[in-house]
Amino acid sequence: MATATLRPCGDFKSRYAADQTIFPTVWSRNFCILGVVLVAAAPFLVDRYVLNLLIQIGYLGIAALGLNILVGFTGQISIGHAVFFGFGGFASCFLNSNAGIPPVLSIPLAGVMTTAVGLVFGIPAARLKGLYLAIATLAAQFILLDFFGRAEWFTGGSNGTVADPVSLFGFKFNHDESYLYVVLFYVVVLYVAAANLMRTRDGRALVAVRDYYLAAEMMGVNLTKYRTLSFGISSFYAGIGGALYAHYLGFMSIEGLDISFSIQFLAMIIIGGLGSIMGTLMGTAFMVLLPQLVNFLARSLDGSAIDHALGLHEGLPFLREMTIGAAIILFLIFEPDGLAHRWKQIKAYWKLYPFSY
């Protein structure tokens, strides 16, 4: 009988605990630890530009992980993630400037508040499936965005609102060099939490709901609860991501929280790999770095011989956009299951998604 596992030979587990770890191999665990250490050392190695990218990958990666829990693990597509991200940002600013709660506390609290909102918008999830639900989340996108624009008490209306920098015992994390650690802390904690969640009861229930909800229900899984819950969890992550973003910028406004931002989150998780935790981070990195890379290429092209020969100068910005589009397309043609697929060499979950049930 063929075993479909792709563990390295000789990697036998002699205890269940060892068989239940987050990391399939020792190697992968060490690799992750090395990654964290490298990022932690980054302020001493690279300049602010790179730090900024790392921080972006961090807070977007947290929010994207939330979306992956919703879409990748529970099988509910959402095209409204950006507003939950935004809500977290506004909530933290609100708590910070109106209630005087320091950002250290307001960030997690904002996560909790966003969870509550997510749960409310998750109510339709109990009844709606597939793309119908997706469009309901699109409605959430428009409704919440409209709310942001109008609720001056909460968001400062269309003018936006300001946020204090994060500070702990008098130390202000107000530069990229220091803020990186705040983001890194949250990334590590929340990614580990998600990995844990997925190997325990409720995480499995979420995946079961995705794969075959009728069977899941008959195995004792409360569909309504888990469908709504996944919105809650997803919003929590989005909220934390948004709050981190707000305190990083020191400012939060509704501009930029539009559908295309929501879609960008989707791109991150699809490219990273649906239903893959590490893949989420990779996908986020891809989406953050791709424009930078293309920008860099465009710049080095600008004024070069090729540019003159083809008269590209005028078209460079468009060429850049096109490259981003084309990169996504090509990527999906060659790696339709996402980066995580390649990374782990394990057949991803998503062959038939979302219509397998």
Partner: protein, 404 residues
């Protein structure tokens, strides 16, 4: 070299106006470099098209403040300017935006009662959105009298519920009330074009006399067209980015008669000596020199030239750094960059007040035929499209108007 950052939008949501403006800045900076730079030192301009996406602007900013820190930035839109206010203040980098929001005009944070925060490193060239809107209100009040209108004229603000269209709303509506207008509830329409017949029908029914178009070109065009079909008879007035030669071409006859502010004292086709400099500058991107350049182009060139002279002042007064450039802006009063007299309007920045000018030129569009064939240059040359000056409004420099 002096490193300079330039954020522009040639490809994103505001590219329709971002293109001519950014082109103006680009050409001007190239011209400056070709003619000796800043007292002999060239500008190392790093232009980034950020496609009107804040995160990308942010990344670019971080890039510029990394190892080789820029001394000044030519910026663009509302969203990114707002997002960067705090950073540029902390990093002491003068930021010349094309967002003219009133909130950027208060360098101390204690300006007017409505002022929210300090923005000491934010500069722009031209009247603020709020002041332009006030000027339009004032013009409308005079226009109403002149036309012999009876009773209270009705004023309505139109635009999306977004930072940019909303920026002048408070100032505009307050001033309108002050001048005896009845201010109706705003009509909201999206920043994207669409069919706005419904809005126009309600606009018509509301009986408004003056309608302020707060959005950018494409969506304003859609409104103008829809309202033309719906048979709305309203005097439209527009924001600086709301209408220009290009959008006028797209709007065609529907765009006829809109009154809007222009930041320069002259248009491309006017007979002003300094325009020859602008035409020289334009050769950078249009060697033929035949193309007509829109109002935004001129404004872009002016903005770049103000920066240039501020830098020159800095070079002569302690070296070109962020703080000295900012001082350079504030060193003179009512000044015009050399060679642009008669085009760029005299401007003044002080340590307490970053409103460069309160004198607003108002123009009115005129369309006499179909605009669908031919380029803008041709249509202007033929006179099918015209911009006619209707007034220059001089607003009082009130302290309580600082910051909004």
């Amino acid at each position: 070299d002096y490193p300079i950052g330039h954020l522009n939008d040639f490809s994103g949501g505001t590219a329709d106006v971002g293109k001519p403006y950014g082109q103006g800045v680009d050409d001007a900076l190239a011209y400056i470099n070709a003619h000796g730079g800043i007292n002999g030192t060239k500008l190392a301009v790093d232009a980034t098209d950020y496609g009107y996406q804040v995160p990308r602007a942010l990344a670019a900013y971080k890039n510029w403040t990394g190892s080789n820190k820029v001394v000044a930035i030519m910026g663009w839109g509302t969203a990114d300017t707002e997002a960067l206010v705090k950073s540029v203040t902390d990093d002491q980098i003068p930021f010349v935006s094309a967002s003219y929001a009133g909130t950027l005009t208060d360098p101390t944070g204690k300006g007017g009662p409505a002022s929210e925060r300090a923005a000491p490193y934010n500069f722009f060239y031209g009247p603020s959105y709020s002041d332009s809107a006030r000027a339009l209100v004032q013009w409308a009040a005079e226009d109403w009298k002149k036309k012999g209108g009876q009773g209270k004229p009705k004023w309505v603000h139109m635009g999306a519920n977004h930072p940019y269209p909303n920026a002048p709303r408070k100032a505009e509506e307050e001033y309108a009330k002050e001048l005896g207008f009845e201010v109706l509830d705003p009509v909201v329409f999206a920043l994207t074009p669409g069919d706005y017949t419904a809005q126009c029908l309600t606009l018509k029914q509301s009986g408004a006399n003056y309608a302020y178009l707060g959005n950018t070109g494409a969506s304003n065009i859609a409104v103008l067209k829809s309202c033309e079909t719906a048979g709305v008879k309203v005097q439209f007035v527009g924001n600086v980015w709301g209408i220009d030669e290009n959008s006028l071409k797209a709007a065609g006859s529907a765009g006829n008669g809109v009154v809007f502010p222009v930041r320069t004292a002259a248009l491309w086709t006017d007979n002003v000596p300094a325009l020859s400099l602008f035409k020289e500058i334009a050769k950078n991107s249009d060697p033929s020199g035949k193309e007509y350049k829109a109002v935004h182009y001129l404004a872009g060139v002016c903005a770049a030239f103000y920066l240039k002279e501020a830098m020159e002042w800095a070079a002569a007064n302690g070296g070109v750094t962020g703080p000295t450039i900012a001082k350079g802006f504030q060193a003179k009063a009512n000044w015009v960059p050399k060679g642009t007299e008669g085009v760029c309007k005299p401007s003044t920045w002080t340590a307490e007040d970053h409103r460069p000018t309160l004198s607003v030129e108002l123009y009115q569009t005129q369309v006499t035929g179909p605009t669908d064939s031919g380029t803008v240059s041709e249509l202007i040359a033929k006179g099918t499209m015209k911009l006619n000056k209707v007034a220059t409004i001089e607003l009082p420099r009130k302290k309580e108007w600082i910051g909004y």
